[in-house]
Symmetry: C2
Subunit: 562 residues, 2 copies
Amino acid sequence: MDLYHISPQRATLWEKHKARLEEAKEAWHRRTYWYAYPEDVKAYSEEEASRGEAEFKAQLNRPFDRLLQKGRRWVVSDEISPYTREPLGISYPQSDVGEWIGAAQEALSIWRWVPWSERLGLLMESIERFSRKFFEVGHATLHTTGQAWMMAFQASGPHAADRAVEALAVAYEELSHIPPHVRWEREMGRAKAVVEKYFIPQPEGISLHIGVSTFPVWNVLPGLYASLAVGSPVIVKPHPRAIYPIAIVVAVLQEIFQEYGLPVSIVQLAVDTLEKPVTRSLAEHPLIRIIDYTGGTEFGQYLEALPNKVTFLEKAGVNCVLLESVDDIESVAKNLAFSASLYSGQMCTAPQNVYIPRSGVRTPQGVLSYEEVAQALQKAIEELASHPKAAPAILGALQNDGVAERVHRLSTFVQVRRAATVYAHPQFAQARTLTPIVAEVQTAYEHVTREEHFGPRLLLIPVESAHVALEILYQIARERGMLSCAVYTTDAGFKESAARLLVEAAVPLSFNFRGQVFINQSVAFSDFHGTGGNPASNASFTDSSFIAKRFHWIGVRDCLAG
Amino acid sequence: MDLYHISPQRATLWEKHKARLEEAKEAWHRRTYWYAYPEDVKAYSEEEASRGEAEFKAQLNRPFDRLLQKGRRWVVSDEISPYTREPLGISYPQSDVGEWIGAAQEALSIWRWVPWSERLGLLMESIERFSRKFFEVGHATLHTTGQAWMMAFQASGPHAADRAVEALAVAYEELSHIPPHVRWEREMGRAKAVVEKYFIPQPEGISLHIGVSTFPVWNVLPGLYASLAVGSPVIVKPHPRAIYPIAIVVAVLQEIFQEYGLPVSIVQLAVDTLEKPVTRSLAEHPLIRIIDYTGGTEFGQYLEALPNKVTFLEKAGVNCVLLESVDDIESVAKNLAFSASLYSGQMCTAPQNVYIPRSGVRTPQGVLSYEEVAQALQKAIEELASHPKAAPAILGALQNDGVAERVHRLSTFVQVRRAATVYAHPQFAQARTLTPIVAEVQTAYEHVTREEHFGPRLLLIPVESAHVALEILYQIARERGMLSCAVYTTDAGFKESAARLLVEAAVPLSFNFRGQVFINQSVAFSDFHGTGGNPASNASFTDSSFIAKRFHWIGVRDCLAG
């Protein structure tokens, strides 16, 4: 029985990329340092760099005409550069919800029957082609998200590509560990039963991917490639303020699908505007069966409650730091200042609450008082924020005005030790910037520490003892969720207590991060991102359930003799 | 960092069973004929057989005092033998919902930190010990479910044990494919980052398993062992009419947990009565995070809608047969008659709707008319049902009066070709029996064919053509769900069309089953049971998501140098 749409041309792509995907799969199991695409910008040629910049400049104030999907109208996006405060002036083709769903449904009838090996070959090829767009996507990311250049390049380029390869590696494992076909035989007295069995992976249905304005590529690629790998067409609904970066990826995929004789609507870009959002109409459509989402908690909870959907949600978390004892407060303060300042605290893994025992923090040189620790942190932030080169390279800009407003509102509840101030960006005079607020929160305002205040902030919280702080961290993780957590301790016993307690609350935990190792970062092929076990996220990049929940094994048995 | 509760004594069990579990894991991947426990009763000794029968007889009308869990009171169960119509007279210890949850929560704090290898060793050992109870559980199953002896022995004994081993094999794969600990190193300019990474599997929380009266062991063991394997304590809430069989399993597990220094409340039996059910109170408790369930659709939908639960549900399906063309109608009719009669149609995989083209069914000898096909089926059922030895061995008895009532009610909507009649059981004069109704359903009563009529029934449905029937099957699968489906065709083209269409509706499909191969049966290590893709079941025994959805990987990173 031959049920699949087979193409020798597509099969060559699988031959081309198979060894590399095997390597990625082994790296995923091994979990030591490995990457598919180098993160160092110097690993790429000058020519690539200047071509990417030129591509970006040529795209501004013009229709994004690289998509092959049909459009009913052109819509000018809400994208405004956080650096120049100028609209990007790019328009995108837009259809209606029913048209997107209809095209995806047509694509589903083909894509689900393309053998997984051909799908993986096509998708690996698309990542390779996308890698030639790393510079363009870097500029597009910088001018939509406000990330500084290095992050914009790495997060939307090689890091995102690595996460995509990772998703394909796990999909490869999940799809290949059951044979496509087997002959089952059994002696039954005088007779012999012979049954040909076919095991056919089938997607849950069409996928919807809802993007976020701060990480429009990194947070999309894992789910996008996971769904595509298992045969599910994806409708990508980017955040109206950050469309361009992911549009580049969608265009590359559509180009390859067309080249290899497949419907371009296997992946579609569904743009909307802040004024006329379409996300709910898409999400509620009964044919949408898989939803990936990064964003606020409230909308995430709405999505989670929709009936008959498989959801992969990353919502807000309240990330915490606990200082029990340290070797060197200065290096700890520097490390934390960097983590809190990186992209102005607009990473989902940025630290927010810093718990410091009132009795102080032990060091090999004696106990540092609460105030000494607080001052060290404040000083490290101050140094970074006032450094003319470091500030722009690390802080970048605020994605939108809401972030600044939130930080200013926060300052009315807390005791400000260091005010959030605008810093002058050396390259972009109009940049929307803000250095971190450092504030103290007393017990009476504890509720402030139970919410995420997305943006450049560090809340210092005096606490009875490190053990009490552990209990607080546990509660916050269980009730509000956490996407990162740093504990500093030189005490082996305390470390084990902390690990046991916080792991039970499904907290991704980091001990004694220092130097150039930051809690914000989770690297593909080694760190999971999100755990699925606390309210901040019901999924994890990229564990087996991130793939396995998207498809089902259907058995077909053909009895030849009974 | 050593976070686990380690025991050298428990570790020996892992050494003892590891090779066997490796073998099971390979079999799961290979999917050819393999078993852990032989299904043939003759593979077991006479001594075992008579000991099992004696154990069963000794248990009747006595408290089930083998459980080690605490009880607040003894409750006499609603168990009544479908064969003797006598109450079994067994009482079980009962606690209150809060007590069960509290004990499970205490167990969770230990069990989650027992290394998975020790857990798997303990669980394999428990299945081995349970295998010494196969005869007792067979008798207990016969006298609670109404299954005939061979099914009662096989389904609750070796077949259930095989599904448990299978669940452990997949858990072994899922838990072992990520290393527990790795040293991650990376050169960073002049510095070198060194991070010790720990990957710790943690369960979603406590599990609740809601059993069914017809398969009190086979449908419970996969989920029970899957949850236990990932560190989740399980509260087993059996159907009030079929407690004894699964109580035997729980007692074996508790005995082993106690022997190996663990809380017996890692698994608890939570009995209730028809008069005072506790299932909703348990299911709605916020600490219950995983629910396994087999039973009616309505209650399944209620469970599915509960917030913050991971559910594995098997609900009702409408199983269909389509006759397009056959080699030999007599052998097909015999095969279907057996499938429809086996355990009086009380298997979730029993066929119900038989679609026969009005224009007849092609054979190598010419076209058989609709009426000829209908008569062949009716005759095969008649022969089986009137055979003094075959009838009791195949039909067994009805689990409860509701089944008979449902079949009688059905007869008012359909055109009865063969009435459901009581057959005289040679061994048990009081047995609750009913032979299958064979009826015809005309288009006007089509709604009757869209519901499951659980019990001994076969509905013949004249249909325009085999292609039209395929469309009907597709619709039924999408809207109502299907747990099995048989298509008979000698036409390669029709076979492929049927496979493509029905696989898209996530139907487990069987072509041309004949002889001793029956569509009702799904065998461990080769067939999946349920697909997760149609409304009849949101899960599948045993694919990776059956395990992976129950736990999360939590990463702990310890930075040694940055």
